[in-house]
Every structure is written in C-alpha cells, then in structure tokens.
C-alpha cells in the first residue's frame, strides 16, 4: 500500500485572532461599556448577598457579631432536623436530574433521528409545564399524591412532580446541544460503519452533547433544590420548606439568613463544579 504525502493544508480551526481592523477607540469604548454593565450587575447581585451575610452574623443585640446562627444550622433539633431536609433536597436534585435526563436524552435523539414529524408536538408537550403555575399544578397533583402516600411516605416522591417541572428547562438545553451538530450525518456515518441504533444514540450522539447534558443536569438540579410551592402545599418537607419553618419557629432570626446563604453557596458551588467539569471535558476534546 502506498503512503501518500500529506497535502499541505492549514487546519480549519486557526486560533481566532483579534480583529486587527477594529479601531482602538471603538474597542476601548466597548471595553468600558463591558465594565459598566459588569459592575452594575455585580452590585445588583452582591449587595443583597452581602447584607444576608452580615445579618447571619448578627449577635443578640443589634450591631454585635456572633456565629451562633451558623452553628445552629448543624445543631438545630427539628422537628424535623434541618440536615435531613438538606439531604432530602439533595437527593431530590440528583433524582430529578437523572430521571429527567434518562427520559429526555434518548427520546430527543430518537425523535431527531427517526420520527421528525412528532418533534413539534413533543416540544409543545415539554414546554407546557412552563405555562402552568406551580400552585395550579398542585390542584391536579394533590389527589395523585394522596394515592402515592398509601405506598410511600418519603418526600423523595416529589421527584415525579419535579421531573415534570424540569422538562422545559432540560428540553431547551438539550435542544441547543442537538442543534449544534449534524445529527443526521453523524448517525448515518455510524450506521454505515455497522452501529446499531443504541450505539448511535449512546456512543456517537450523546457524547457530543456533553455540554448540553451538563446544562440540563444543572438546571433540573437547581430547580429541585429551590422548589418550595409544591413541597409546601403537598405537606412535604424539603430544604426550602424547612427554611420557612425555621424562620417561623426559632427566636434567632439570623438562622434564616445563614441557612439561605448556605443553600445559595451550596448551589453556587455545585454550578461551579459542573461547569468546570464540562470545560475540562471540552478542553480534552478540543
């Protein structure tokens, strides 16, 4: 077999160069605008957070400092204990995102590959929960949950409702990922190499929408972590409901701030970890 010499072509992805033609003045103005916007939004988001931080360290008399609100998070004695509510919320986050993804990823790829005509109806169905207020959902969900309670009492059962709530967000994130690649050609190439439909979905298409899957995961987990209305009205106890009841039941008002802040920091860290993992994975590919 004859080796053939390489045709001297430049790689497609040349490192993007800054538009040299862009005038320095214009660039400076654009940069200034960027910093103004950034500062504005940083203040908008940071000020309330900083205020929360300050209040969470408020001592028994106004203006004094104390860490008791933070230590109380761990020592809070229910009922039910705070840590169990955190645990429930975490578990709900994991369960909701995993179930949502397990349902949506194969279904969406399958629809894209084989049953395009149904995609409009499917999109409508997935986006529907967005248009129904949670409180209205509860009206329909209550009888269902009455039945569920006969079988299982755990608040984990909330994940059924949360999967429905997470559908629109996960759908949008995954659709963006699917649109970013040539699903048809990739699947046909894999098929012609002997891949089954299962292989096409899980070894060819899904690995290429890794970033989209992470986004969907993040959104559905965040939704489950922050949900209050459905859990409260169906009389389940998750983190948000617990924060509400602590607020009502403890004399130390600072606890509400420390717990909220803890929940925020927790979600924020989760977000960082997921997006960092996604970026590292991407760099491996790039």
């Amino acid at each position: 077999m004859a080796a053939v010499t390489s045709v001297g072509e430049a790689p497609l992805a040349v490192p993007a160069k800054r538009g040299r033609g862009m005038q320095a003045g214009r660039r400076r103005r654009l940069n200034a605008f960027r910093y103004v916007v950034f500062t504005f939004f940083a203040l908008f988001f940071l000020l309330p957070l900083l205020a929360m931080l300050r209040f969470s360290f408020e001592g028994s008399t106004l203006g004094t400092w104390s860490a008791s609100a933070w230590s109380q998070i761990v020592s809070y004695q229910g009922p039910p204990p705070l840590l169990s509510a955190v645990e429930i919320s975490l578990e709900l986050g994991v369960l909701t995102s995993v179930v949502t993804l397990a349902l949506l990823v194969p279904t969406m790829i399958w629809i894209r590959l084989r049953v395009q005509w149904i995609s409009r109806a499917f999109e409508f169905l997935c986006l529907l929960p967005l248009t129904i207020p949670a409180i209205v959902l509860v009206v329909g969900l209550a009888p269902v949950y009455n039945k569920i309670r006969h079988v299982e009492l755990s608040a984990l059962m909330l994940f059924w409702a949360y999967v429905v709530l997470a559908l629109p967000y996960a759908y949008r994130a995954l659709a963006a990922g699917l649109n970013a690649m040539d699903v048809k050609t990739l699947s046909e190439a894999a098929r012609s190499l002997g891949a089954s439909w299962f292989t096409v979905i899980f070894r060819v298409i899904a690995p290429n929408m890794w970033q989209a899957i992470l986004n969907a995961l993040l959104l559905s987990a965040a939704l489950a972590l922050g949900e209050f209305t459905i859990a409260y009205t169906l009389l389940y106890n998750n983190l948000q409901v617990e924060l509400y009841s602590i607020d009502r039941n403890t004399p130390n008002a600072s606890v509400i701030f420390s717990t909220s802040l803890a929940a925020l920091i927790f979600t924020f860290l989760l977000l960082l970890i997921i997006s960092y993992a996604g970026r590292r994975r991407r760099r491996g590919m790039r």
């Binding site: 010499t5 790689p11 497609l12 098929r191 012609s192 190499l193 891949a195 060819v204």
Partner: protein, 351 residues
C-alpha cells in the same frame, strides 16, 4: 464479488434504475442536482428504503438489510467524523463495533491513516484537521472495515479547488491500490471524467449513458449527456443521410439513423478553430469576436455570427491574437456530432 444490480420503480426520485458495477471498478454517477444520484447511493447504503426493486452485492440480496448490516463504507459530503474522537479512534470505530481486539484495531487504524497520508495526525481531533484532512480520515474510516463496496457521496464538494483536485487523484490511487469496488457520486463533470472507469450520466432518475469517460465525452448517447458533459454549441443544420450540414459544412453524425430534415447539431467548442479574417466578406462562417474568457492554458472565445453566437476553445496564445471586435473566419473540425432531439427551426438556434 460479482457485481451489483438494482431496480427501483418510484416516480419521484429514481425511475426504475438499473446499474451494475463490476468488482474493483470505480463508477461515477454524474448529473445535475435532483437527478437521483445521491438517492441511488443512499438506497445502496441502506439509509433510505427502496419502494421497489432489488439490490444485490456479490450475489446476495441486501435490499431488506438495515444500513448497519450492509458492509458498505461510505464517505459523506458533509464532514462526518465523530467530533469527540481522535482521527485514530474514528478510524477504529467500525472495528470496535466488530469486536476486534484493541491491539489489532490500533494497528489497522494506523495502517489506514498511513494509506491516506495522515499517520502523523492520528491523535488529533477532527476540529484540528483541515476539511481535506477530515475527508481523508473519513475515507480511511470507511476503508478500515474492509467493506465490499465503497460509496462516495460528493466527498470533495465542500473543499476548495486545489485540495479537491489533489484529493480526487488520491482517492483514485487508493481505490486502485485497495482494489475496492467504488461508486462515486458527483455533480462535477471534471471529477467524474478524471478518475472513473465508467461514468453514468443521470437525469430524472434514469441513467442516460453509462460508458467510459472518453466515450461519454466524445460520443454522447443523448443530447442531455452532450450538453451536461462539457460545453456545447447548438447550431442549426440539416440532416441528410449520414451527415448534418451546418452553415455550409458537412459533419458526420454519431447516430446515422437520424431522420433527415432540419436539426440542431451539438458542436464541441474545441472542434471550432478561428483564424483572423481580413477579406471583409461575410460568409456563413465568418463573424466578430465579442468576448474571450481566459481559462489558463486555453481560452474560450465567443464569436457573433450575425444570426447566432458560437464558442470556440483555443490555446491562450491564439486567443490573444483575436481581441474582441476582430473579424474571424471559422473552421469546424469534422468530428462526429450529435443531433438534438426535437429539431427546432434554424432561426431558434442558440449557442
């Protein structure tokens, strides 16, 4: 592998197409977009289902087999490498699906990459490769599974002209090397003529002519083939016996059974030669140069003959001597010509 025949009876895309490709042969399907050439290929690959007809490979009926079981390698028009795999992993993908051990898989993948001249890029991801390199990896990937048939669906059309020509020749060299039966779909006549053993010119879901490139060009079977492959002048003339008289010149006919009467003769630009004319008379074979297109070694000169225009292909050196506006006399070389069906009256002739 004894060949491949298929019949398909569907009005829209393919109209009862028959095609046999012999073992080790490279057949190009050439035609305008929408003529059914890509459909043919996709049916062959099993990516679409035939409404009627039969596909056999080496004597086995594969018509009802899914794409994944057909044992055909395919290279697509769009870049089709899996973005999350390196070039080597891409090539090895088909082998992995066939449960071939990792050592053997790796060796084979490297061997294939060497074949397309990309062994040094084995660990690069598709986005780090140029378009031409990606298509070569795709070719290596298709060949790695040692398919019975190689299907190429306009693999070069997304590349720029220079890379296209290089890769075209490379594909032919590899195809001869490996000796694989290949079906190549293209809308670029130059591509088809350059590398194939036989060219099938398609129109409206049928093959108009299936013949070696030289024959397709010099003895087109139908007027569609004549006009699609290469440029053609349409000149009014009169058929009588085995010749057609065009502007007072007798040209032999390809098809001597053409009924006598007025007809349109299809004359290749390179059969027309021009000479500077200073005599000033205006016979049927004199005219004025109105435009000249520089094509490199040759130039195409358009001449106004009064009632029609004609294109001539000359060497650039000759064409330079005949700027726009100069009077010229024409000579038409007596190559066998084809007469267009549905002969129009002389006044409707067009160039």
């Amino acid at each position: 592998m004894e060949g491949l025949s298929r019949r398909y009876g569907e009005v829209v895309a393919l109209d009862g197409l028959d095609l046999t490709v012999h073992a080790g042969e490279l057949v190009a399907l050439l035609g305008p977009s929408g003529c059914g050439k890509t459909t043919t290929l996709r049916l062959l690959a099993g990516l679409e289902d035939a409404d009627a007809g039969q596909i056999t490979v080496g004597g086995n009926d594969v018509t009802r087999l899914p794409a994944s079981k057909r044992d055909m390698g395919m290279v697509f028009q769009a870049y089709s490498l899996f973005p999350h795999m390196t070039a080597r992993q891409n090539v090895a993908f088909g082998l992995r699906l066939r449960r071939i051990g990792s050592a053997q898989r790796d060796r084979k993948a490297l061997e294939m990459l060497e074949l397309v001249g990309l062994a040094s890029q084995a660990d690069r991801y598709p986005h780090q490769l140029s378009g031409g390199q990606q298509q070569r990896v795709a070719l290596a990937r298709a060949l790695a599974i040692e398919p019975q048939v190689l299907l190429l669906d306009e693999p070069l059309s997304a590349l720029d002209a220079k890379v296209r020509a290089q890769l075209r020749d490379q594909i032919r060299r590899i195809q001869l090397d490996v000796g694989i039966t290949t079906l190549f779909v293209t809308h670029d006549q130059e591509e088809a003529l350059a590398i194939s053993d036989r060219v099938g010119v398609m129109q409206d879901g049928r093959i108009e002519q299936l013949a070696p490139p030289v024959e397709v060009y010099s003895r087109p079977a139908t007027s569609f083939v004549a006009e699609f492959v290469g440029l053609t002048n349409r000149l009014a003339g009169t058929v009588s016996g085995s010749t057609v008289t065009v502007r007072g010149r007798d040209l032999p006919l390809v098809d001597i059974s053409t009924p006598p009467g007025p007809a349109i003769a299809l004359v290749r630009p390179e059969a027309v030669t021009l000479a500077s004319d200073s005599s000033g008379d205006s016979g049927p074979l004199t005219g004025t140069v109105i435009a000249s297109t520089f094509l490199g070694a040759t130039s195409r000169v358009t001449v106004d003959l009064g009632d029609t225009t004609i294109m001539a292909q000359l060497s650039t050196a000759e064409a330079v001597e005949l700027p726009a506006g100069s009077r010229v006399s024409l000579t038409i070389r007596p190559d066998p010509v084809l007469v267009s069906a549905g002969a129009a009256p002389a006044s409707e002739a067009e160039a």
